[in-house]
């Protein structure tokens, strides 16, 4: 997807070209692990900082954070731009592109992941806030080489066409089943309403969730 190449949080403001490319920025911040992040909101931290300023001043200004969290069972420790969403971190830095960017505004559910066992929108989650968290993405749902029962059910029920919303649907569906909101097709539809399917596969998506919830597999 060409739209995925962009990293919105590093886009310069309109009319202000940035001398800093995303890759340069990441390379620079990547070596900065261990640099203490300014803790206060006083002093230079409150100064308006433009995205065009150099990396050193951003670090000094505390606009990056050190985070350490479990991602699909493996420890990740890294320095992130405070503006980076979990979604962009997953896709652009950690090469986990199963989590999709649809609206980037919490309206479509394509980026649904589990944080501490709860389904959330990765696009509205600042990565800097994840210190100590446990994150599960579609890649970590089942052991390597295996599929989660709901993934199998999606295939068997043919619950997708283009497939773009599918990882989010499945992460949401797994949580929906765990929450117990699967008593009827109507209840499944209501509790899956945070996941939009542009192809309109809702009937089969509900069928797949229902199939797994009722122990079909």
């Amino acid at each position: 997807m060409s739209t995925d190449v962009q990293e919105p949080e590093l886009q310069p403001e309109e009319g202000r070209p940035s001398p800093l490319s995303r890759r340069t920025f990441i390379a620079a911040t990547g070596t900065a692990t261990g640099v203490a992040v300014a803790a206060g909101v006083t002093g230079s931290g409150t100064r308006p900082v433009s995205a065009t300023e150099d990396v050193a001043s951003e670090l000094a200004d505390g606009t990056t954070s050190q985070v350490s969290f479990l991602l699909n069972g493996r420890r990740q420790s890294l320095v992130v731009d405070n503006r980076a969403s979990l979604l962009d971190l997953l896709r652009e830095r950690l090469d986990l592109t199963g989590t999709k960017k649809g609206c980037d505004a919490g309206a479509c559910g394509a980026c649904t992941v589990h944080v501490d066992g709860r389904r959330v929108n990765a696009c509205l989650t600042f990565a800097a806030r994840l210190d100590g968290a446990q994150v599960t993405t579609i890649e970590g749902l089942a052991p390597d080489g295996d599929l989660h029962p709901l993934q199998r059910a999606f295939i068997e029920q043919d619950a997708l066409q283009c497939g773009f919303c599918t990882p989010g649907q499945i992460m949401s569906g797994v949580a929906c089943i765990r929450e117990g909101h699967t008593e009827s097709p109507e209840e499944i539809r209501e509790w899956m309403s945070g996941n939009i399917c542009r192809c309109g596969c809702y009937v089969k998506i509900v069928r797949a969730v229902d199939h797994v919830a009722t122990g079909g597999r």
Binding site: E13, V41, T46, A51, G62, T63, A105, E190, S193
Partner: protein, 326 residues
């Protein structure tokens, strides 16, 4: 998005200090992160309060309910005490947003939600809330979803919260703590109509933090419920909505609490409807007569005239649903 510093508050005291210095509180972040990405919001310092111990939900001694500001929407909706004592609260929460967003968003943040007006969210459009004095694009623009009550010549955006409609009906209190100590104010005074200062949305002073929302005790048995009318069945903001709580004893309505959403610049209390109900016996005619008063004072815009009648019908239907079983 503009750069910002990020710190986690480890105590309420620490949060207030940071807030007083200009730090912006972030809890669930479901509104704030979205608006920061649109550059509608441009905080220079974020103070993460989500780890503070403000998420308890408990019954108060005389039968009221106290909800910690940092309790998540999903958790409050699922709480057995909430579901049993104030079903309208659970209903409003479960009819809000999506399961994912309810897992993230907090009760305090829900009340603090900013308008969903498309012009407010579009930084290229004039908007008095975003840029005081720049004008209101919705007044002459497309205003089908906008308010018909509590509007001013400066702003006509609705308050988007469902929960706040129930809290307004039940006359809840907002508990705050700030640099000068603790303070409490009725939600009807906490949320501000736009008037001449549409950029001022709440009665919050610098550094102040919401710690809890408290619903006062109401006489029992109490029936309550929330009805939401919208363009699609789920995951959508209200065109109109109504929260109703009734205490009926000996075949007579002794207490009536009614407020509407989707129609006002803040959740809209309906005292004329309440007064018409109290002292009378439930009947289909009574619901219809009371509902006739629901849109008193409404001032529709070009595209939202339908809300006046829709509001009356929503009130009538919800009175029938909540009160009709006597």
């Amino acid at each position: 998005m503009f750069p910002f510093t990020y710190t986690r508050a480890t105590s309420v005291h620490e949060a207030i200090e940071a807030g007083e210095r200009g730090g912006r509180y972030i809890a669930g972040g479901t509104t704030l992160v979205d608006l920061m990405r649109e550059t509608v919001e441009r905080p220079r310092a974020l103070v993460d309060i989500v780890g503070l111990p403000l998420s308890d939900v408990s019954a108060t001694p005389r039968g009221g309910l106290r909800i910690g500001a940092l309790a998540r929407m999903a958790d409050v909706a699922a709480d057995p005490v909430v579901r049993q004592t104030y079903p309208a609260v659970a209903q409003a929460l479960e009819l809000s947003a999506s399961a994912q967003l309810r897992n993230m968003a907090t009760i305090g943040g829900n009340v603090m939600q900013r308008p969903r007006c498309a012009y407010f969210r579009d930084v290229s459009a004039p908007c008095n809330r975003r840029e005081p004095g720049s004008g209101c694009s919705a007044l002459e623009g497309y205003n089908r979803t906008h308010a018909i009550l509590g509007t001013s010549e400066h702003c006509v955006a609705t308050h988007p919260s469902d929960l706040a409609v129930v809290l307004t009906a039940l006359e809840a209190t907002v508990h705050m703590v700030g640099p000068e100590g603790r303070r409490a104010t009725p939600i009807g005074q906490f949320l501000l109509q736009p008037g001449d200062t549409p950029d001022r949305e709440q009665d919050l002073r610098p550094g102040e933090l919401i710690v809890a929302l408290e619903i006062p005790p109401l006489p029992r048995p109490l029936r309550s419920g929330y009805l939401k009318v919208r363009d699609r069945e789920s995951y959508e903001f209200a065109l109109t909505s109504v929260a109703v709580a009734l205490h009926i004893r000996g075949g007579v309505i002794h207490t009536a609490k009614v407020a509407a959403g989707g129609v006002g610049t803040i959740p809209w209390k309906l005292p004329a409807v309440e007064q018409h109900l109290v002292g009378r016996r439930p009947s289909p005619d009574l619901w219809a007569q009371a509902a006739e008063r629901a849109a008193d004072g409404a001032r529709p815009l070009v595209h939202n005239g339908f809300k006046t009648e829709l509001l009356r019908r929503t009130v009538e239907r919800q009175l029938r649903i909540v009160g009709g079983r006597s």
